[in-house]
């Protein structure tokens, strides 16, 4: 067993443990913090897959920005900390049907990917990862790259319009 395999198993364990912990916890803030472990584990897996730039972006955007914005949303709204209140929708049957469906879906996909191998030895990506991504973005993917900037602008304006107070309410104060 090589060092890469050990690193893969440790990072995969961290990622899955974060997800399972998220499902089990009851406090909302703790759930978000558990997801940070998953996001950091996935960033480590990106490094193993020689995608250093994507790993850095993952840490910046997911572990940083999205976690913080989720925590702000939790703090701006009121959350019951009562342990006895139910955390899930529906009853036991609802959860059982959801679990069985998800497990069936997982098994079906697993039998499809179990033997998948394209014979690539993984030596194609080595060195200058960010440079290659930059060249690709500004040659093959110029139009999608510009459209993404429009999407981000639309999301920014839309989020502000949705979250600001209505004209009537704002006038009352």
């Amino acid at each position: 067993m090589s060092g890469t395999d050990i690193a893969f198993f440790l990072l995969a364990l961290a990622a899955i443990a974060g997800g399972v912990t998220m499902l089990q916890l009851t406090n909302v803030v703790h759930m978000v913090i558990a997801l940070v472990m998953t996001f950091v584990g996935i960033a480590g897996l990106y490094v193993l897959l020689s995608a250093e730039f994507v790993a850095v972006v993952q840490v910046l955007i997911y572990s940083g920005a999205i976690t913080i914005i989720m925590l702000f949303a939790i703090m701006l709204t009121r959350h019951h900390t009562d342990e006895r209140e139910r955390q899930t929708t529906g009853g036991v049957w609802h959860r059982a049907v959801a679990a069985i469906s998800v497990i069936a879906f997982g098994l079906a996909v697993y039998f499809g990917i179990r033997q998948l191998d394209f014979g690539a030895d993984g030596s194609a990506l080595s060195g200058d990862n960010a440079k290659a991504i930059g060249k690709s973005l500004y040659s093959y993917y110029t139009i999608p790259f510009e459209i993404v900037s429009v999407i981000l602008l639309v999301a920014l304006v839309g989020a502000i319009v949705l979250a600001k107070k209505d004209g009537k309410e704002a006038g009352d104060e």
Partner: protein, 101 residues
């Protein structure tokens, strides 16, 4: 590691996210479960970029696009959550039923 190990890990993460999105009652947690599913998809993209039939950085570029769109989705989703909380004073998914009856 082989390709199928990464794909199996991404499948497990996707299933965890799917189960959480289907059953959790808190809107913030449902949104974050959707983020987890998008992360699993990104892991597939990057794994295929290294071990797929045509290795290259195109998978990385697609993963970056998915991250950008996911960030926009999280921002708009949380803005909707704030607006919903202001009107209904709750953040539970099953109490958002004004259009149901």
């Amino acid at each position: 590691m082989t390709l199928s190990a990464y794909l199996a890990l991404a499948l497990i993460l996707f299933c965890i996210g799917l189960y959480g999105a289907l059953t959790k009652r808190n809107t913030v947690i449902v949104l974050i479960c959707i983020e987890l599913m998008l992360n699993a998809v990104n892991l597939n993209f990057v794994a295929f970029a290294k071990y797929g039939p045509h290795p290259g950085v195109h998978g990385h570029v697609f993963a970056l696009f998915v991250i950008a769109v996911a960030a926009a989705e999280a921002a708009v989703g949380l803005a909707v959550l704030i607006a919903f909380y202001r009107n209904r004073k709750t953040v539970q998914v099953d109490e958002a039923n004004s259009l149901k009856h």
